[in-house]
């Protein structure tokens, strides 16, 4: 595998996170490699969502959030005092558990994130919207009614719209936080296929509580258990030859 030679795009060192007095994450250290899918698995309340929200600084919204340790994005401190959270969010996109299209047309939903990074002319926006929708494999279903409200879309289509919207912001890293949780069984393989396709251009971080999904989509996986990163390594190794007993119990279904 080429992964051991490439420079990590993100480096997390000794990350501890508290919400108020309760500690959510304990001494996390790992690297995120570019153009790979890094999955985080673990039972609910293991800190997966908290972890990815540190990576795009969405936790800044929580007044009780406190952290120690370093998160480096291409060598630069993510939490440097003068660095704005909005700048980070432009580089690191996020797809949430629940698809939340804005109250705008399908076109405007996707164009919104391009506008946020300063692209205003419609002759520039059009191609970005099309390309993003194509990457999210939604273009063929919606190109005839781009100006209508996304309310008519199915839940799965809404989620793909949210992916397109995140892509239009031209991020380098894209975080998926349990994106299939609210989708039906037919939509899940489509979303996994999108993730596989995006891998060639983006660095992906994928949070899921479905073990087999993590095994299917990811190259590298980490197992979180009550705030500890129990094991982190190649997905194949995590699922076939786990070093830690707790990982083994989890991937075989005996834990969580």
């Amino acid at each position: 595998m080429q992964s051991h030679k490439t420079e990590p795009i993100m480096h997390i060192h000794d990350l501890n996170v508290w919400y108020g007095k309760s500690q959510i994450l304990k001494n996390l250290t790992f690297d995120v490699l570019p153009r790979q899918v890094t999955a985080f698995i673990g039972p609910s309340n293991s800190g997966k969502t908290t972890l990815v929200r540190c990576l795009n600084r969405l936790n800044d919204l929580n007044v009780n959030f406190r952290h120690t340790g370093k998160i480096l994005l291409k060598g630069n401190d993510l939490y440097a005092p003068k660095l704005k959270a909005s700048k980070i969010a432009q580089q690191i996109g996020m797809v949430f558990q629940k698809p939340i299209p804005f109250r705008k047309s399908i076109y405007e939903n996707v164009a919104y994130s391009a506008r946020l990074r300063g692209i205003k002319q419609s002759d520039q926006l059009g191609p970005i919207v099309e390309e993003s929708l194509r990457k999210a494999q939604l273009w063929n279903e919606v190109y005839k009614h781009l100006r209508t409200s996304p309310d008519v879309l199915s839940n799965g289509q809404k989620q793909r719209l949210c992916i397109a919207r995140a892509l239009a912001g031209a991020p380098e890293i894209l975080i998926f936080d349990e994106p299939c949780e609210q989708l039906d069984a037919a939509e899940t393989p489509k979303l996994e296929a999108i993730v596989q396709n995006l891998k060639s251009h983006y660095t992906l971080i994928f949070v899921t509580n479905k073990r087999r999904q993590a095994a299917r989509v990811s190259d590298v996986a980490g197992f979180l258990y009550s705030g500890e990163l129990v094991e982190f390594g190649q997905t194949e190794q995590i699922f076939t030859n786990p070093k830690d007993k707790r990982t083994e119990n989890y991937v075989t279904g005996r834990l969580g």
């Binding site: 919204l61 704005k84 980070i88 804005f102 919104y112 995140a166």
Partner: protein
């Protein structure tokens, strides 16, 4: 009640009292007096008087509403719920909003209009603003809080700045609820004004043409406007529930 809450509540009450006393002294010195026209509304044919008052009140009203919306957004979007600024301002507003509007009307009329002996437009306007502001601030706060956190997060996660989130998402989402709250406040204010005029007219003037319950025309207009306002509010409320 926790100790910190008790402290915040006391500070809120004390600062309000101090503000009232300061204002009281200040208002005695103010003398850009032009005699009030609202209380001349004793004759049935007083639409023009009301018209004049409304014409002057509308800018005040718009200003008060814009101010209250701004305050509400400042409280909800820029301050943390746990910060001392939020705690004190929100408590002051809650105290003011909890006072029945009739009390404002009567006390406002008594202190500002009769005791200061300048029934000026200025004092009318101040009573009115004091009556309307806390209610509109609170209803706007509730409307802002009603916007789902996930909408904000979705926008922040795309790299939106706080002002983008407010202008592009929170405000459009909350708009009809904000307007519903404002119309309710206006409706209540108009109704109270009408009531006070009626009481004033009944106590100060002998009934004309043997009618013991003489009601000035302006009062009827006020009540109709109040009704219209509350109907509008209910429509806006319904719109919020549908969309």
């Amino acid at each position: 009640m926790k100790r910190s809450e008790l402290i915040f509540q006391s500070i809120a009450l004390i600062t309000l009292a101090v503000a009232f006393i300061l204002f009281w002294n200040f208002s005695k010195g103010v003398s850009f007096v032009e005699n009030g026209t609202l209380f001349d509304a004793t004759v049935t044919d007083s639409y023009s008087v009301l018209q004049e008052n409304l014409n002057r009140m509308i800018p005040i009203l718009l200003g008060a509403i814009l101010f209250s919306v701004a305050i509400a957004f400042y409280l909800e979007e820029y301050l943390a719920r746990t910060s001392w600024k939020y705690q004190i301002i929100a408590r002051q507003i809650a105290i003011l909003a909890s006072i029945p509007s009739l009390l404002y009307g009567i006390l406002g009329t008594y202190f500002f209009v009769f005791k200061t002996e300048f029934g000026s437009f200025f004092t009318h306007a101040l009573t009115f603003v004091l009556l309307v502001l806390p209610i509109t601030i609170q209803s706007t706060q509730r409307a802002i809080r009603g916007v789902d956190i996930s909408v904000r997060e979705a926008a922040y996660a795309l790299g939106a700045k706080r002002r983008h989130v407010i202008v592009h998402h929170v405000f459009p989402h909350a708009f009809s609820t904000i307007m519903a709250g404002i119309f309710i406040a206006i409706s209540r204010t108009l109704a109270i004004s009408a009531l006070i005029i009626v009481v004033y007219v009944w106590t100060e003037h002998t009934p004309q043409s043997g009618d013991p319950f003489h009601i000035p025309g302006s009062v009827i207009v006020l009540l109709l406007l109040s009704l219209l306002s509350s109907v509008l509010s209910s429509f806006l409320e319904a719109k919020t529930n549908w969309s």
